[in-house]
């Protein structure tokens, strides 16, 4: 009886661990995507991206991490379809629709500016 209970507990613990691992891995991938403007990262170093993020927060008052996440991930489908790619498309769409902002002189898509802000907050945390 004890042995059976032990096995059940072990399986349950393993299951929980796997769930947690998956969750944290997923969360980490999400955070990474949200804080990594793909195109801009090829141009600016991390320090500049953080600086842009800080200035963006001051300019817009979008300085709540959860709110920024909501703005960046506007529907669950974005996650399903691969957040990185979805955000990249959103950046292009911003330029096409004129959803841009000037931050520290950089003419940026609103989305990539928010990604910089997200990065700044993640770093601060």
């Amino acid at each position: 009886m004890k042995r059976r209970k032990f096995l059940l507990v072990s399986i349950f613990a393993l299951f929980l661990s796997l769930i947690s691992l998956w969750y944290f891995k997923f969360k980490s991938a999400t955070t990474k995507a949200l804080s990594h403007p793909l195109d801009l990262s090829e141009i600016c170093d991390r320090k500049t991206l953080i600086q842009i993020g800080n200035t963006y927060m001051k300019l817009t008052n979008e300085n709540d991490k959860r709110y920024l996440k909501e703005l960046l991930v506007q529907d669950a489908a974005m996650i399903d379809n691969g957040l990185k790619i979805s955000l990249k498309s959103k950046v292009v769409e911003d330029f096409n629709t004129g959803n841009t902002i000037l931050v520290d002189g950089w003419l940026l898509s609103r989305t990539e500016a928010r990604q910089c802000a997200f990065l700044s907050m993640s770093e601060a945390n």
Partner: protein, 511 residues
């Protein structure tokens, strides 16, 4: 033939069919066009064949408003004029430059680009340039490496430039002029007064003087002022005899609408990946043409901005360069010129390896934009007089909100287009960040391009000269050069001012 006016008897009367005042790009081009046609052409030059400091000093003056180069050194006063130190950059104006644009006050020439095309072709030869063709596709045949950025062609196009050696008119055309049988070049013959008849509808004669104390009179059937936009206006204003306002100035327009090009480092372009920029980056070692990024008529109209373009310089070099207005500060044009050359050399030498291994990714974007016509931007007369008794010029260079707005908007649009194309990002310089700031920084330089002080309009209430460059109300007085420009366009004016002068020459020959 050549006559040194210092060696003539005092009070000599010089007579001819046509008198051209000023032997710079405009004056020499016109004189050459009359070479051998049997008409007696008098070509007056205030200086000689070599630089002379006391002659140059006749150009000194003061300026107020937007910071500007010393008037003494931003032109050259000798045979050949300012071609003695120009850079040789040539490009024609665009069709839009001649049009009436409802967002650009006082725009609209009474002629079109097509009216100038035949004369542009002639001007090209004088500047030792290739064919009059500024189409990228034409040049791509010779330079297949010329690849434009993949940007929206409805918004951005490649404005091509050709480079003159640069032709120094004073050296290249001296022999032809001096050996000509019908061109009578008088050196050291400084115009000090234009004398009209009593009715003030015709020029009777000119008074010319030199530092040697000689005064002569010049009489001709027709007179052409080709002394440059500042000097032409100055002499018209200073010639107060029968008219108190100056010649051609019944409507208070002479000297007004002074324009320069707005030249300033404005932004940086950062590419995601290296891209062949052979088309855009100026190679000092060759005369290879190059392009600048320019906006289409449609986008200019939609966004209500002035015409302009942006050149690319690798940031590694550009960062080492001092703004040209800080470099060109000496009253002696030779020293200022040397400083300018040294500034370019310094940046190149410091960065011998400016070409990054895998291609450059960061560039300075340098603006070259027309200045909006502005009545308050003007040449006036100072209370001070030069050594020959002529009031010195006083420049008030004044810019408008449209100038600043246009530069800012230009880079916003460019930034969006670069983002759209996924090529890179544009970073605007700090003076462009604030939408409400209409001031221009002191680092703004001009291109040493003086335009618009005797602007062209069919209406005497709106311009000093008509479509044929004849001064309104004066039957035999004409103006040659960029002073006649109604709007400035973005390119350096030399090619256009010579084309316009050749058109005037053609008109005078046929009339």
């Amino acid at each position: 033939m050549h006559i040194d006016a210092r060696e003539l008897d005092n009070n000599t009367i010089i007579e001819g069919d046509l008198c051209i005042v000023g032997a710079g790009a405009a004056g020499i081009s016109m004189a050459l066009d009359w070479n051998g046609n049997g008409k007696k052409v008098i070509l007056l030059e205030g200086g000689g064949f070599e630089y002379d400091n006391k002659i140059q000093d006749l150009y000194a003056g003061n300026s107020t408003g937007q910071r500007y180069y010393p008037l003494r050194s931003c032109r050259l006063h000798l045979f050949g004029g300012t071609t003695g130190h120009w850079g040789g950059m040539c490009a024609p104006l665009d069709p839009i430059d001649f049009k009436k644009r409802n967002w650009v006050p006082d725009s609209g020439w009474p002629i079109t680009l097509d009216d100038l095309v035949p004369f542009y072709s002639k001007a090209q030869k004088l500047f030792e340039l290739d064919a009059f063709n500024y189409d990228l596709r034409y040049w791509q045949k010779e330079y297949p490496v010329f690849t434009p950025f993949p940007l929206d062609k409805n918004i951005i196009w490649s404005k091509m430039w050709q480079f003159s050696p640069p032709t120094r008119f004073g050296k290249t055309y001296k022999e032809t002029i001096v050996k000509s049988a019908n061109i009578h070049l008088y050196t050291y013959a400084n115009l000090t007064k234009i004398v009209t008849n009593n009715a003030v509808n015709s020029i009777k004669e000119l008074t010319v003087k030199n530092h040697e104390g000689k005064t002569h009179k010049v009489r001709a059937k027709k007179f052409v002022m080709a002394c440059g936009a500042i000097q032409n206006a100055r002499m018209l204003l200073a010639s107060r005899g029968a008219t108190k306002k100056g010649i051609g100035n019944d409507n208070d327009l002479v000297g007004r609408y002074f324009m320069e090009h707005l030249e300033i480092k404005s932004a940086e372009l950062w590419l995601k990946k290296p891209f062949s920029t052979e088309l855009y980056v100026f190679d000092y070692s060759t005369r290879k043409p190059r392009a600048e990024l320019a906006f289409t008529e449609a986008i200019q109209e939609e966004t209500r901005i002035l015409n302009g373009s942006a050149s690319l310089t690798p940031l590694l070099i550009a960062k080492q360069q001092t703004p040209q207005i800080d470099v060109w500060s000496n009253e002696d044009p030779r020293k200022s010129f040397d400083n300018l050359v040294a500034n370019f050399r310094k940046s190149r030498e410091k960065n011998a390896s400016w070409k990054e291994e895998n291609g450059n990714r960061a560039f300075e974007l340098f603006t070259r934009m027309e200045q909006a016509p502005n009545r308050n931007s003007r040449i006036m007369l100072s209370n001070e007089k030069d050594a020959l008794g002529v009031p010195r010029p006083q420049l008030h260079w004044e810019l408008t909100e449209l100038d600043k707005y246009s530069i800012r908007k230009f880079y916003h649009i460019l930034g969006v287009q670069m983002g759209k194309a996924g090529i890179g990002r544009v970073k605007l310089d700090e003076f462009l960040w604030d939408d409400n700031d209409n001031s221009m920084p002191d680092q703004l330089g001009g291109g040493w391009h003086h335009m618009g002080t005797t602007r062209m309009s069919p209406d005497p209430n709106k311009g000093v000269v008509d479509a044929n460059c004849k001064v309104h109300g004066i039957s035999n007085l004409f103006i040659a050069g960029s002073g006649c420009f109604t709007t400035a366009g973005a390119p350096n004016p030399t090619l256009t001012l010579v084309a316009l002068s050749l058109r005037l020459s053609d008109y005078l020959k046929s009339n």
